[in-house]
Amino acid sequence: MPGAQGLLSIDWMVLVIAAWLAIGIGAIFAPRNFPYISRVLYPAGALVGLLLAVAAFAALNQTPETMVLPLGLPDLPFHLRLDSLSALFLMLLGACTAGISIFAAGYLRKAEGTAPGVQCLQYHVFLASMALVLLADDAYAFMVAWESMALSSFFLVTSDHRIPEIRRAGYLYLLIAHVGAISLLLCFGVLQGNGDAGVAGYTFANMRGIDHNAFWSSAAFGLALFGFGAKAGLLPLHVWLPEAHPAAPSPVSAMMSGVMLKTAIYGVLRVGFDLLHHPLWWWGVAVLTLGLVTALFGVIFAAVQSDMKRLLAYSSIENIGLLFVGIGLTLTFQSFGMRALAALALTSVLYHCLNHAAFKSLLFLVTGSVLHATQTRNLGKLGGLIHYMPWVAWLGLLGVLSSAGLPPFNGFVSEWLLLQAFLFTPGLPHGYINMMIPVAAAAVALTAALAGYVMVKFFAVIFLGQPREAKLNQAHDAGRLERSGLVWLAALCVALGLFPVFVIEKLDSVTRLLLGTGIYQAAGEAARAHGWMYLAPISPDRASYAPVVFLLSILVIVAAAYLIVRRFWHIRVRITGAWDCGFPMQTARMQDTAEGFGQPLRQVFEPFYRMTRELPSSFDKAPVYRVVVEDHLWYWLYLPVAKVTEFGARMVAFLQQGRISIYLLYSFVTLVVLLFLIHG
């Protein structure tokens, strides 16, 4: 397709952006025309997303293309560039959009907050700005797109703006996003060099050509890490994430978690490997450490949530942490010149980006369906939904298994690659890092295992067991459009899990672009000998994994066992009530609640939480037990910052005490001090 009609791939990308904007603008002319928006515009957006995915897929192996749009600052028009890295993330964006938009078409209801037309505009501006972020090739275009993305998603998050919590969530989100954006601005300020080039120095092309000294490149990297970390939810800038995701409508949560967080990863990769050339080893260690802490934190908190979207939000924090672990590893390898290993680690990062996008979008959409069917996000009021919404449940199970990092689904592949990368670290020429790495690997393993715990909780409490509320038997399964969105994303999960060799071959072009080498290419004939079936990134002796064989063997054994059991024994089943332990008054409320399921972890990781317990006394007529689990960081970092700000505000208020003599005194003292300075 690209090139066929004389259009370059990048032209297609720009057309896609334009199309999304056009769809958005098309919506505000009929903001209340519900069928038009939900049955025409959203599906059209999904189609455009699909187109984007296809075009980006085709562009993965192409040489970079550039383009200049007549927008932006004078002397600094919008520079766009499509290289493999952008193409990969654009593909991710397109693929997820295809699923999420079609889901949104079915999901949209009339009654929610902002007028549907306005919401449609915001949504498509969000999409377009994400695409522009990925295409931008100068600092200004990047920042404009970056902040437009934050802004449009903020409006989407606060769709239901009459609820104070949602406003608060949106506020926190935009605030952290903005502070992060300023940090990015400063990062680009460093990257532009000494300013000789004037405004034209802000193009990425110029930045690539500059070699910074260790101090400035570290400063740039640190600022970038802060800025992108704020968007990604890296500790300690994660607090907005568990607030904003539940507040947003589910397709938006899916979009934010699945795709928007990845733009931050894209940014780190862009700055860390493309714009800066020589990573220092301690960047890697710092990123690795931060990533680990984030991952562990995320999963530990996910385990104790009782709001299903908050749980997923914390799980996103965990996954972001894992991504940063991979990035840190890549940086470390790269700084020691071990490019093949860097490529391995980077491949795991990129792979996990795709995986997380697929399964987390899927899971958020699942929560959306559940939310619509039951009107509640509270896990304590759900249960047994597998009987009422089987489609959602079974597709959700695929997402859950992927998310838990279980073979043969997609989450496992990237985890596997990451652990493989860790196993090579003893080759590092630095003693301390060498010792640190096993500990880090252990932490990654622990995180992965805890993710399983979390996902079991998520799925089991929502879909299994008995309905905890009577009205749950009214729940209906997802509609056709919703269902097709879910199926699409679930299919992505399965495909990514079963055919890793294809994917890695495609990812090679990205690692080649960033690191100069790719694992598929470097693996050599031996590793490729088994073809598409066996994933053996280094050599088959070293490690290999064949998901298709894996899945087939399991299925064959299951089928064989089933047939044999049926052949040789009877298949009698007696349906009766569950065993009640001799206590006949069993009710659905006696099942484990979400809190109950998380309780062991709460106990094991007690120091990590800030818990306030409200215990009933034995004389209470209506005993109430309540436990509130909060984040220490909120109290250790954010509230003190708020307090310091407030203190500062109180201090400066002394400047404005209303007395004119004092005001005159200020002028006077200013004058005298300045004169004194000048004179002296």
Binding site: L71, G72, L73, P74, D75, A139, Y140, M143, V144, W146, E147, S148, A150, L151, T158, H161, R162, P164, R167, G170, Y171, L174, L175, H178, V179, I182, S183, L185, L186, F188, G189, V190, Q192, G193, G195, G198, V199, Y202, A219, T645, G648, A649, R650, M651, V652, A653, L655, Q656, I660, Y663, L664, Y666, S667, V669, T670, L671, L674, L675, I678, H679
Partner: protein, 481 residues
């Protein structure tokens, strides 16, 4: 010819409205004068674009790229403010807060104020510049105290005394400047900026440094630089909203323009970065202090008054840094700030009228009651907070990135301040726009056209700066150095 109209029309308008300002159609007359002034300013601008800088009236008037765009901006904001004030003042009149005579005073002073600002911008004579600035103070003092309430009188009094004293320092600076220049240029042309600029290298540095300090403190008071700013929030909060809009949108700009003209001379004479350092210091201090002030405000207009201090601090900092990019950005920021801030005040004015209070906690849920006011305020706020794709972002982008290389020590301060400012302003505006509504209907249709005109322009400047405008900026930046 165009020039005569630019200065003459508002002067004439001021006189005419002094007689007719209480008529029923006075607001339309006011708008008409402003419109014609705007047209004349556009014509003047076109002429300058075509023919380059011009000296008129025995070199007393000088129009160059630096001031002509400010002239155009002033005329434009003056015009849109007159459009806004038409329904606004009528509603105030209907609510019984203003009598017809006050309206007459308002209309007349509004035109005179425009006149003084245009004069301050276009004059070539540093003395006249001073006179015009003082006159601008005097006209606005009467506007600030228009409601004659205790608070407005207090605000006007403080404004008058503080700016009067400040401007007196500027006069002393001007005298010192003259003292230095007279020896080089002789008696007659010693205060003409064009001549001063030509010989700035020969001016006595010691005197010039003193002069600059006095001028900076003097005009800086009008700019609202911390710690000379104390009049500003009071005046913004207590005056009628159109006045707040022009104070923030225009007066501060003009005062800053005066500072910049002085800085050019000081830079030339001192052969050091003293002026720049001082401006950066004041700029940073203003940004920091103003942003911390923001979080405790209860009055919405006061809030945005402090926000103006913050933005003037940013611009001052940018000019202090100097260099083509920073000066360019400073000029751009002046433009977009005055457009955005006046738009915000328009929206805030109607919001306050709808809710019958300027207190933030009593304004809630605007977007439900009147979506245009709500969206206007929301978008304006986001724009002023430096959210792209609005133009404020463009200038902040350039300023911050330049600062990162030129003055890296300042960037953490800017980062913190901008963050604090964002937290404060957005935290206050969000529940005003969203949330459960408290607003009621107004007797007259609010004028939201000016708001969206301004925001549209600001949006355009963020995404695309017309080439001729960019060229202006560039030339002006070159002048500033």
């Amino acid at each position: 010819m165009e020039f005569l109209l630019v200065l003459g029309l508002p002067l004439l308008g001021g006189i005419a409205l002094a007689a007719t300002g209480h008529w029923k159609r006075a607001a339309e007359i006011n708008s008409a004068f402003s419109l014609f002034t705007l047209l004349a300013a556009i014509a003047l601008t076109l002429r300058i674009v075509e023919h380059g800088p011009q000296l008129l009236f025995e070199e007393q008037i000088f129009v160059d790229p630096l001031n002509v765009f400010l002239v155009a901006l002033t005329a434009f904001v003056g015009f849109t403010t007159s459009l806004f004030s038409r329904p606004y003042m009528r509603i105030e009149h209907d609510h019984g807060r203003l009598s017809a005579t006050r309206l007459r005073l308002y209309h007349s002073m509004f035109q005179l104020f425009t006149f003084t600002m245009l004069l301050a911008l276009t004059t070539n004579n540093m003395g006249i510049l001073w006179v015009a600035m003082e006159a601008a103070t005097l006209t606005t003092v009467l506007l600030v105290s228009l409601y004659r309430t205790a608070a407005s009188l207090e605000a006007a009094w403080k404004y008058f005394i503080l700016c009067g004293v400040g401007i007196a320092q500027a006069l002393f600076g001007t005298i010192l400047l003259y003292f230095a220049a007279e020896k080089v240029l002789g008696h007659d042309v010693a205060l003409l900026w064009t001549h001063l600029d030509a010989v700035k290298g020969q001016l006595e540095p010691t005197v010039l440094s003193l002069a600059f300090v006095f001028l900076l403190v003097g005009y800086g008071t009008k700019v609202g630089l911390v710690p000379l700013h104390n009049w500003l929030p009071d005046a913004h909060a207590e005056g009628p909203t159109p006045v707040s809009a022009v104070l923030s949108g225009l007066l501060l700009n003009v005062a800053l323009y005066a500072v910049v003209r002085c800085k050019v001379l000081a830079d030339g004479a001192l052969h050091s970065n003293l002026a720049g350092l001082l401006m950066m210091g004041f700029g940073l201090l203003s940004v920091v202090v103003a942003s911390f002030f923001l979080s405790r405000q209860k009055d919405i207009k006061r809030l945005f008054g402090y926000s103006s201090i913050e933005h003037m601090g940013i611009v001052t900092f940018a000019f202090g840094m100097g260099g083509p990019v920073a000066s360019f950005a400073g000029l751009l920021h002046m433009t977009v700030h005055s457009l955005t801030k006046s738009a915000i005040f328009f929206a805030v004015g109607h919001a306050a009228q709808k809710c019958g209070s300027q207190l933030i906690e009593q304004i809630r849920g605007l977007i439900k009651q009147s979506p245009t006011v709500g969206w206007g305020l929301m978008l304006g706020t986001l724009a002023i907070l430096g959210m792209p794709p609005f133009g404020v972002f463009a200038s902040e982008f350039l300023i911050l990135t330049t600062a990162m290389k030129a003055q890296p020590w300042a960037t953490p301060i800017l980062l913190i301040s901008l963050g604090v400012a964002f937290a404060a302003i957005f935290g206050k505006v969000q529940p005003m726009v969203f949330g459960e509504p408290t607003a009621k209907r107004l007797p007259h249709k609010p004028a939201m056209l000016p708001v969206f005109m301004h925001l549209g322009l600001v949006l355009m400047l963020g995404l695309w700066i017309p080439p001729y405008l960019a060229e202006w900026y560039r030339q002006a930046a070159k002048l500033i150095g």
